[in-house]
Structures are given as structure tokens and as C-alpha cells.
Symmetry: C2
Subunit: 264 residues, 2 copies
């Protein structure tokens, strides 16, 4: 890490608690690698009034750049932003904020963008592809939006809870009227299968996509980072499919976060 | 500098502008030297509402340790503190704040303590000494209080402006009724002469104390740091006096600031 001076731009990882966060270490390494004079520190604040006070101070600090927003503030910070990206507004969630030159705060949601950037950095093409997406939670929503923005032709969403599935599909259709979307129909031909559930974190988790649906030349991709070789990726390998592990999402996210934070 | 993690305690140098500040570099070096898991960053905020917002956020940030307060906030921050040390209250100025475990903010004024710590670190004894102090501004006031707290027997204050001189002497007498104090009487025997004016910063400045008053075994001490060899210190050397340059104050201040900031 380079030395902190009075000219160093200030960034934060904002959460509660923050003892376990790894973003400051990773972003400071990226700042050094890219010769950017910035420093990221962890900031611990509880939801509600304390969060509002911290965001008010971010506006007031002239040398503040922005923050990565993590648990439990991703939804609570939405109303504290002055500007939201369409995807953040649509998801009702924010994972990065940036201080603009006028002191206003812009929020964006880069979870899905990070995943898509990770795919693209690994050389994958998304334009006109047909995607099978397992999950309808926050991660799946963010990834579905980022896939649609990247120009995929079709998304099939699968989920056990019908309510969340319906909600995600309705949001997708509203935002991308020309995107082809279907629910729970695994028979259609897919180029890319993505696990956006947390299944795979634990050793005895069921597979998020049944092995019979994994067929070459399909690419099978994960959001789960630990273990790097999830049950799904193992099954995909046995079936002869190419695989894309969760760590690509992390690298893609860092790159997308850097671009967002330093764009003011 | 060690790596910043989610467990690293956060400190600030709070001023406006902050591009030129050197405290973050120096304090981060001291944190590393003392194996203390802290990081100091510069925070730029203008006086008034923005300063108030930043201090409100310092209360809200659970992993915030404290701040060095510099120009132009040393007086403006006084009313934003919950607790003040007697010397800060008396001077109406604060140069360090600390976040207590309950989120309250304690302010102190360590300028004079830093100077006295610098003298003590250099092996000088202050107890029962007779001191000649040139100047009646903020630095002189802080040093006078710190000298009185360190147990000197007598302080002679000299200053061109009678009003400021009277004000300083009156404050000193109020706070330390048993201290012997006199004004502008350079004939009395002094063990230590201290320049607490800014005379010496520029090459053509007049001497803050006339050379005929510098006589061995007197110790002659400076607050001016640049140049290290001021006109006063040169004259003191020619007169055969021992000298104590302004850089000792900086080292003493850093040590006193570290102790204050990490005491919560």
C-alpha cells in the first residue's frame, strides 16, 4: 500500500459489523496496482439514525470518494441517496455509493454487473445467448438485470418459491419488454446455466440445477465462492460442460466497483 | 504501513483544506512503530454545518477512534464536544478529539503538552523552574498552561500587544492561583526562555527575545520548526546557551496525541 497523504481520496466499506470485511484489503491492493491515490477503510455504523449521520458526513467530506455498502445497509441506504441507477431503483437495493462533485450521493447496484464483468473477463460472450438462471433472490435479480443489459436473448428463471419467481419475472418483463423470459422450463436449449442461489455453500446442499440439464457445450457458472469447486461445478465437469467459478464474480465486482467509485 | 482490515481503528486529521497536512503520514508511521492497528486519513470539511455533520458521524461510527483537529476548526469544534479538558475549556480551543465507548466526544488541547513532552523527552526538568515565555497567542497560552501543569515556579510573559498579554496573564492566574507570574520583566533570572511567537519563520524577522537576555546556563527553546536553526537559536548558541529546536515539539506532540487518541 502506498502512503496516505492529505491528497489521498477517501473511500469506505460501510456495514455493521465490519470486523470480517475483506473489501478494504482488496480495494487498497487494486488502488496500488492501478496507481490510484485512494484509501479504503471500514466504517461500522448501525442502521437508522447512525447510518443517516454517516451518509450526511460523506456529503460533507470534500475529499470523500464513495463507499461499498454491505450488510445490513443495502436496502436502508436507498432513501439516503440523491440519485439511483435504474437497476438499483428497480431492485430497491444499493451496494455502492459515490460522492459527486456537488456533494450529492449516487447509488448503484453492481452485484450483477460484477458477475457479468467476470464472465466477460473470462472471454464469454453474452449477446443473444440463452440463459438458465437458478434462484429468484437478491443476487438472482441483480444478475438477471445485468444479463438483460448485456444483451442476452432469453432468460429461464427457476426457483422453488413461486411468489419470488413471479415477482422477479414481472420486474424483468417491465424493465426489458423485448427480452424473452420463461419460468421453470428447463427443457429449452440453454447456452449458459447460472447458480444464483446459496446452494453449494454447504457440503450436503442439493444441486441448484439437476445434473440431467447440464449438457455440453453449455457453460455452467456459480455465484458461490466457497468452496470454489461446488457440487454443481463438479457435476458440470462430469457432464463435460465448461465451468466458471464464483471467484470470477469477485474479480469482476472489484473492477466494476473501482470504475464506479472513481468516476466522479 | 500495515494492511487496513475491518478490525483497524479509524482516525482522522480534520481540517480544510487538507492537501498539505503531514499528520496522517506521521501518525501512521507511529501506529506501525507501536504495532497499533489503526489508520489515520485526512478528512476535508468546511466550518459550520459540514463540520457539525462530520462530528455527528464520528459519534455514529463504532470503529472511529478520534481525530487531530487543525485549521480552521480548532475553535469551531469546541461546542461540538461533549466533554472538554480544563485546558481546552480555558483556551476555548481543541486540537484533538476522541470518541468514547458511549459515542460521546472528548476534546483536548495538546499543543502545549506536546511542547512540554518534547522538553521532558530531551531530558529537561520543569519542576520549580523559572520560565521566560515570548508571545501571548494561542501557542503561548497552550504552552503556559502546560508549563504550569508541569510544575514550573514562575512564568514571565512578554508580548508587544498589551491586551493579549493581560488576557493571558489573567487566565493563567485564574487557573493556577499559586503560580508566580509577571509581565514583560526580562531582568528576572530565568532558567528557560521559550519563543512561542511565529518570529523566526522568515529570515528577516526580528528576534522574539533580545540577545542580551540570553545567558548561560539558560536553555533556549523554539516552537518554530522551519527553519530548524532560527535566529533566536543561533543567538542563543553564540551566547553559550543550550538550545532546543521546534522539531522536539512535533515529536512530543505526536506522542501525546497517540496517548490521547488511543485512551478510550
Amino acid at each position: 500500500m502506498t502512503s496516505i497523504t492529505g491528497k489521498t481520496k477517501l473511500f469506505a466499506t460501510l456495514g455493521y459489523p465490519v470486523g470480517h470485511v475483506l473489501t478494504p484489503q482488496k480495494m487498497n491492493a487494486l488502488f496500488a496496482e492501478r496507481h490510484y491515490d485512494g484509501v479504503m477503510v471500514a466504517v461500522a455504523a448501525t442502521p437508522g439514525q447512525d447510518l443517516a449521520r454517516v451518509v450526511a458526513a460523506f456529503r460533507a467530506m470534500r475529499n470523500f470518494g464513495g463507499a461499498v455498502v454491505t450488510v445490513p445497509h443495502k436496502t436502508g441506504i436507498v432513501t439516503l441517496c440523491d440519485h439511483l441507477s435504474p437497476r438499483a431503483a428497480n431492485a430497491g437495493a444499493v451496494n455502492v455509493i459515490r460522492r459527486e462533485a456537488d456533494g450529492s450521493i449516487t447509488g448503484d447496484l453492481l452485484d450483477g454487473v460484477g458477475f457479468v464483468t467476470g464472465l466477460q473477463n473470462a472471454g464469454e460472450t453474452l449477446k443473444d445467448r440463452r440463459v438458465l438462471l437458478a434462484g429468484a433472490g437478491g443476487a438472482a435479480l441483480a444478475i438477471a438485470f445485468a444479463l438483460a443489459e448485456a444483451g442476452v436473448a432469453h432468460i429461464t428463471v427457476t426457483n422453488r418459491s413461486q411468489d419470488r419467481l413471479d415477482a422477479l419475472i414481472s420486474r424483468l418483463k417491465n424493465s426489458f419488454p423485448r427480452l424473452s423470459v420463461s419460468a421453470n422450463d428447463l427443457s429449452e436449449g440453454h447456452d449458459i446455466a447460472i447458480n444464483a442461489t446459496s446452494l453449494g455453500l454447504r457440503e450436503n446442499d442439493p444441486l441448484p440445477i439437476a445434473p440431467e440439464h447440464l449438457r455440453p457445450p453449455m457453460l455452467v457458472a456459480e455465484v458461490v465462492m466457497m468452496p470454489e469447486q461446488t457440487g454443481l461445478l463438479k457435476a458440470a465437469g462430469w457432464a463435460g460442460c465448461r465451468t466458471h467459478s464464483g471467484r470470477h464474480m469477485l474479480t469482476g465486482q472489484l473492477s466494476a466497483i473501482f470504475d464506479f467509485l472513481t468516476a466522479a
